[in-house]
Amino acid sequence: MKRVTTMLVVLVLALSISLPVMASVPGELLIWSDGERAPILNEVAKQFVIEYGVTVRIQELPFGDIRDNLAIVAPTGEGPDLIVGAHDWLGQLVTDGLIDPIDVDDESLFLESGLEAFTWGGQRYGIPYAIEAIGLIYNKDLAGEDGFQSFEEMIELGTKLRDEGKYALVMPQPDPYHTFPFFSILGGYVFGMDADGVLDPLDVGLANDGAVEGFELFEYLMDERIMARATPYDTMMSLFQNGNAAGMITGPWAFNDVRSAGIDYGFQQIPSYKGQYGRPFLGAQGFMMSAFSENKMLANLFLNEFVATKDTMLAIYEGDPRPTAFLPAADIINEDPDMRGVMESAAEGIPMPAIPAMNAVWTAWSDALELVINQQSAPRPAIENAVQLIIQTIEDSGY
């Protein structure tokens, strides 16, 4: 008998402990943020409490984990209301039914291309805080004060640097994202647009004549040792930091590493080839709203009134300098020459397709790059085979 009483007591105790854990919390916002944005959001959250008495909790996750965790956690009802993320997640998150559109109160506050990047089927799925595009960081001691006008110029310098055991160019390999300018430079594209301006997943333009010619330039640069071969990101970075490379194709995230190595550098857009400029992908980062949020209206309010403000956007910039997508803050941020360079490069940018068919592109494309980097295939057959696979995969999955 005694035993039973003990157990009952324990049971009641357990119930009282566990119930609050289970309860979902309407009326309280939860934001999943990466480490760079979390401290700033915490400050904004404090203001929100003061103004409206509504709690905003920030949970910190590695940037790259946010998307995958959302897919696992959100459907169970334990997920966040808002997430920080990149625009190219959009395709997957929307097709999975994990995010909902956001009502942007005043669209004129944002850079058009930043908002466009977060648009899907005519609806806005995110509020952008930063845009980014890759370009060329150059070492002024090797490449001169103004960097490179053209790839022709780079080849000329490269043949001289080669004798000193240095490279004119380094870039992460194999990496389709960073290699795209070679494809776009003479007219390659990932997906074509149909008459309505909607991306057509079955029109893949990575193996058209312009794309192949650009890809052949990529191969030529490696064959002539003007560009280092098969360099992963860290190897590429150490080559540049040690002054063994005149130029490096990368994005704003590399500035800190380059600066810390004491290199006198500049940032420019991708050089021209045969008179045409290589166009990078344009990327954007922003806030998105979970489709399973129980506080959608509140989350919208938080974004429109507390995040889309000059103070918050400047704070986000200071925490992690990237060109802003928020126009009222742009003047201040663009005083920085690095940021101006990235903005100029972004002006040439093509929004990275965010349709789910893009998933099929990355792997096959990366494999094609690798075959050429490894000298196992010529550019044309490698990329033609890849495009064939991409189209096949897309058709198979019935997009």
Binding site: S18, T235, E370, Q392
Partner: protein, 503 residues
């Protein structure tokens, strides 16, 4: 005293059970919940019934085996016959709920400013004002057009008006309100400042299990995880659905998937054999050297040789990746300086495999050395004395005494090492990521991919995005293969029996 401890222990266990159970209920994981409940019930029965007492030692093992081994296997089997993956993450009820809650903003419609009041019963009343100054009162889903000096206005004045802060705190309550404006339109909250006219996009017919697009009248029927229109187009998101053997058909029916699967499978076997073989040979050799009592500084050597084992594999693998770099790695620089040519370590399929074996040798030989050292200690010195008396050479001693006696205790470890390397994901992934790629493969597959890394790439990096269904199908195939290999290994080497005899 014993009883109190037992009672307390059982209490704690029950608390944990209940806590997990409630969590599972919240997460709607009913199957695990039922399993857990059964486990909890059994635990209590066994502890409280004196007759069931002996089973208490067996129970935790059985319980955890069901939870951590049997359940995942059953779940994997289930996933392998579904389309779970990108585009089909949610379950059907969730998807239907999403479609039902989709509203489109009526374009060019008026926006209604609103004031909100709470009556003494706590119910909400709304006073809407359109851009022309026309006013409506909304309460309990119904709208009333106001005439001048409507008594309703006076009634509202008697209620408490919500301030902006109150409105923000009550947003969830407000946004759940909707008022039928006319036959098709609903007045719903757009933001904290306005209500707007919305059209419902879809309605779900529970009887017929179809989704109806309200404006166009198109009927969508659920099929293979999507709501499909008669013309074959489908709505996103899709939902999780059982697709039968579709994933297995994809795996075995498509040469562009089967091709890489077979070559991946062959390399997996080679990899596991070579990994065990090389590390064992080197480990045994070093163990015999270190076992020599005339060797000076044995302890120093032993400590030094164990170092690669002590350094986390993640760090070693990444360092080796740098060493193997074709243009800049130290290995190629040395080769270039000495023999005048370099090796495309991570680019050529053959050399990438060699690089992996070298790395795994580095990571794995200390383990083999340690177990061999231990096993060597247990071989009695008298045998060797007898052999020397009989005139045996060193090789004969090794061949006929050391190796057979060593194998008795080491063989089961070699088999488990084989199984471990069969699924040694981290080494592959850290050094080559399965690369270089296999030309023409439709799934992401590389020459150095072993089955488990191939599965990982299928699951998380496939053309479709995430593809848990296909990955689970591959996992099952791997499970059957490793299961069979291990079974035959133990069966025909008699490894377990020997251990039993000697222990």
């Amino acid at each position: 005293m014993g009883k109190i401890i037992k009672g307390a222990f059982l209490g704690i266990v029950n608390v944990v059970f209940i806590w997990i159970a409630l969590y599972l209920l919240g997460a709607e994981a009913y199957l695990v919940f039922v399993l857990l409940l059964l486990g909890a019930l059994l635990t209590n029965v066994i502890f409280l019934l004196p007759r069931a007492y002996p089973y208490r030692y067996l129970l935790p093992a059985a319980f955890f085996m069901v939870l951590l081994v049997v359940y995942p296997i059953v779940y994997t089997v289930y996933i392998s016959i579904t389309n779970y993956g990108t585009g089909n993450i949610l379950n059907k009820e969730q998807v239907v709920a999403q479609f039902e809650s989709k509203y489109t903003l009526e374009p060019n419609s008026d926006s209604f400013a609103f004031q909100t009041y709470r009556d003494p019963q706590g119910d909400l009343w709304f006073l809407f004002t359109d851009s022309l100054g026309g006013q409506l009162v909304g309460h309990d889903g119904e709208l009333t057009h106001l005439r001048e000096d409507d008594p309703l206005l006076r009634q509202l004045a008697g209620y408490t008006e919500l301030s902006r802060v109150d409105l923000v705190r009550a947003t969830n309550e407000l946004s759940s309100q909707s008022f039928a404006y006319d036959d098709t339109h609903e007045l719903r909250m757009r933001n904290i400042n306005a209500f707007n006219l919305y059209l419902q996009q879809y309605s779900y017919d529970r009887e017929r299990d179809v989704l109806l697009e309200v404006q166009t009248g198109i009927v969508y029927t659920p099929e293979d995880g999507y709501f499909r229109a008669p013309d074959g187009t489908h709505l996103t998101p899709g939902f999780r659905a059982v697709v039968g053997f579709g994933n297995f058909r994809r795996l075995f029916g498509n040469p562009q998937i089967t091709g890489p699967f077979v070559s991946v499978f062959i390399w997996t076997i080679q990899w596991a054999l070579l990994s065990v073989g090389t590390t064992f040979v080197v480990g045994l050799f070093l163990a015999i050297l270190l076992n020599d009592p005339y060797l000076r500084l044995r302890k120093v050597y032993r400590s030094l040789l164990i170092l690669p084992y002590a350094i986390p594999a993640f760090i070693s693998a990444l360092i080796w990746r740098g060493l193997f770099n074709t243009d800049l790695g130290i290995i190629n620089q040395i080769l270039q300086a000495t023999i005048g040519s370099s090796v495309p370590w991570l680019q050529d399929p053959f050399w990438a495999k060699v690089a992996l074996i070298i790395l795994n040798l580095w990571l794995g030989f200390p383990y083999m050395m340690i177990i061999c050292l231990g096993a060597l200690q247990s071989i009695s010195a008298e045998m060797y004395e007898a052999a020397v008396v009989d005139g045996a050479t060193a090789w004969q001693q090794f061949r006929h005494i050391t190796l057979p006696l060593l194998m008795v205790s080491v063989a089961p470890l070699l088999i488990s090492s084989f199984s471990f390397n069969f699924n040694n994901f981290s080494v592959i992934y850290l050094l080559t990521r399965g690369r270089p790629p296999i030309v023409g493969a439709q799934t992401p597959a590389g020459h150095t991919d072993i089955l488990i890394s191939y599965t990982y790439r299928l699951a998380f990096e496939s053309g479709r995005g995430i593809d848990y269904g296909l990955a689970s199908a591959v996992t099952l195939v791997i499970f059957l293969i490793t299961g069979a290999i291990t079974f035959f290994n133990f069966r025909f080497t008699g490894a377990l029996e020997d251990v039993n005899k000697n222990v």
